[in-house]
């Protein structure tokens, strides 16, 4: 089985993660533009960050047989620095139509300030103009209100829900997001977001249609193997392989494939890597084999 982790910040991860992801069957990844912990003070650092997403990080992933795509955007937290935000908005058009850019993201609300709404709106218009999918970050604080407000803004701009992935959902938001026709992504992230046992309960209630799981692994305590681990846990819990593949591979492929920049053939033709090429004596199994076995020895539960 192959996985597509549609939300992972690889610039913050080590080659160990790349090796383990490749070994666990992660064939392709999408890296959204986001804040980097330390607030940026110059547009140049944004530009270099975008350059690394379309350049060096893509190259780094390819060394491990993983196809790397990205979404480009001004994140909501840094949208509050309006002088800088305006400068970032000016350089976005240089990037969003590039090869391997599968959408505008991650954008949305953090504090739910007026400035955040302004730049969400502007970027939604840009996505509409460039005919690109949108990857939405929903706020951690006052999530339910912020999620509803995000969808209101998108609909006001005229973005079709089928081109939008709303991320970081939980039990409280999923119903409305799916009901309004959006893709609903769930981030399996320890402590602050969603644990994977809860995810299985959500799958039981809502099935797999328009649902996506991702890791959002970044510079915090997070898990780059969240998608394969959750898949393995789902299998143990009796979820069908078809449903597992739908949420961890086919749905993100379909949602972001609307960009025309992401297709299965991109990684079907490349054989990927043999883990033994990377480190001698390693016995980790690759994807394509039984996911339960591939993850044996790992603690599957993320809570």
């Amino acid at each position: 089985m192959k996985f597509l982790d549609s939300h992972v910040h690889m610039v913050s991860r080590t080659t160990d993660d790349y090796q383990r992801m490749a070994s666990a069957g992660v064939a392709a990844i999408i890296e959204p533009s986001f804040w980097q912990g330390q607030p940026r003070t110059h547009v140049g650092t944004f530009q270099d960050y975008f350059n690394s997403l379309i350049g060096f990080e893509r190259f780094r992933a390819s060394q491990f047989g993983i196809r790397h795509y990205c979404t480009i955007g001004l994140n909501p937290k840094e949208a509050n620095n309006e002088r800088l935000a305006d400068e970032v908005m000016e350089i976005l058009p240089l990037y969003i139509c590039k090869e391997g850019v599968v959408g505008i993201g991650e954008i949305g609300f953090d504090d739910q300030s007026a400035a955040e709404e302004k730049y969400l709106r502007l970027q939604a218009q840009m996505a509409l103009e460039a005919d690109l999918p949108i990857q939405i970050h929903t706020p951690h604080r006052d999530k339910k209100t912020g999620t509803t407000r995000t969808m209101d803004v998108l609909e006001d701009v005229g973005v079709p829900p089928s081109k939008v992935v709303i991320d970081h959902n939980n039990e409280e938001t999923v119903k409305e997001v799916l009901g309004r026709g959006y893709w609903a992504a769930f981030t399996i992230y320890p402590h602050t977001k969603l644990g994977n046992e809860r995810m299985i309960e959500i799958m039981r209630e809502f099935g797999g249609e328009r649902i996506i799981i991702d890791s959002a692994a970044d510079w915090g305590i997070s898990d780059a193997l969240a998608v394969p681990k959750t898949a393995a846990l789902m299998k143990e819990a009796g979820v069908t392989l078809d449903a597992i593949e739908t949420v961890s591979y086919r749905n993100p492929l379909k949602a972001y494939g609307q960009s025309g920049q992401l297709k299965e053939a991109d990684w079907a033709e490349t054989e990927g890597i043999d883990p033994t090429d990377l480190f001698e004596g390693n016995t980790l199994l690759r994807g394509g084999q039984d996911i339960g076995k591939a993850m044996s020895g790992e603690d599957l539960v993320i809570s």
Binding site: N51, I54, I91, P93, L94, I96, K98, E99, A130
Partner: protein, 291 residues
């Protein structure tokens, strides 16, 4: 050149992407918007084939080099040519504005975009303004980007000062690139470069590493005592192309006397050189193919 490339591209692309390109060319001329131009330049890969080299006729290639000597789109893809056409349309704008947009594109370019930008340099007006951009490009370690400037491109020979030229040739050797594809490799040879190349060869020998036979090409017109000793060593080296290279240096009009002592060892190749079967280009080509 814009019209010529457009007519060639229209024989090799579908109606839909060509319509898309026409639309953008019209907008560039009559209703320019910077963002729309960025979308078009980066987005060309979403409309035109980016995987297969165009299958061009000799006459297409000839008319291109007739109009811009040394410039070629041989082995380029449709999206590469479409991007080149967009840049040519942009180049018709005011010079300062053109340069400003060009810098913005370079500052945000991915590898394939950078290749288009650098390989199109010989087509743009006011080349003196572009030299620093080209030199910056040669500082890359990405082979495709370096090649776009250094190989099959008339720009460096026409516009680099000796220091930039010499650094580029040395770097081409460091990166294992074929020197015979550097346009002007003979006409731009100079004594400083010959000395630097010989020093580089000495370093390689000291480290027990092989030296490319092509290294001696720009040295052929600058044989002094040191280089004469080096060429004698090359003539006695058993590796592909080494003796041929020594023979080619020997055959340079100024060298028969200086290199008299290696005459015997290079003798078997002199006839091939005389009848044109062995040249620096044939040698470079066969090394590239076997390398």
């Amino acid at each position: 050149m814009l019209a010529l490339l457009l007519s060639i591209l229209s024989n090799h692309a579908e109606e839909k992407p060509l319509g898309w390109l026409d639309h953008h060319l019209e907008k560039i001329e009559n209703d320019f918007s910077r963002n729309r131009f960025y979308f078009a330049f980066s987005g060309a890969c979403r409309h035109f084939d980016k995987e297969h080299a165009l299958d061009l006729s000799e006459s297409d290639l000839d008319s291109i080099s007739g109009m811009a000597p040394g410039f070629t789109i041989d082995n380029r893809t449709a999206d590469h040519v479409a991007r080149t056409i967009l840049l040519l349309a942009l180049a018709e704008k005011d010079q300062d504005f053109f340069l400003e947009v060009l810098r913005a594109l370079l500052g945000a370019a991915d590898i394939r975009e950078a290749v288009v930008l650098y390989s199109s340099l010989p087509l743009f007006p006011h080349p003196e303004e572009l030299v620093s951009l080209a030199r910056e490009g040669t500082r890359t370690n990405v082979v495709d980007i370096f090649d776009a400037i250094a190989l099959d491109n008339p720009f460096p020979a026409a516009h680099f000062e000796n220091d930039g030229w010499n650094q580029m040739v040395l770097k081409a050797l460091f990166m294992g690139r074929p020197l015979y594809r550097i346009q002007g490799i003979d006409t731009r040879a100079n004594g400083t470069l010959a000395t630097a190349l010989a020093n580089y060869a000495h370093e390689r020998w000291a480290a027990g590493r092989p030296v490319s036979p092509e290294l001696w090409r720009p040295c052929a017109g600058f044989v002094d005592e040191t280089i004469a000793t080096d060429i004698a060593r090359v003539a006695a080296t058993e590796a592909p192309g080494q003796k041929e290279a020594a023979a080619l240096v020997y055959a340079h009009p100024s060298n028969a006397e200086k290199l008299a002592e290696i005459k015997e060892s290079v003798e078997p190749f002199l006839k091939e050189i005389e009848n044109g079967n062995l040249t620096w280009d044939t040698l470079g080509n066969s090394l590239e193919k076997d390398g």
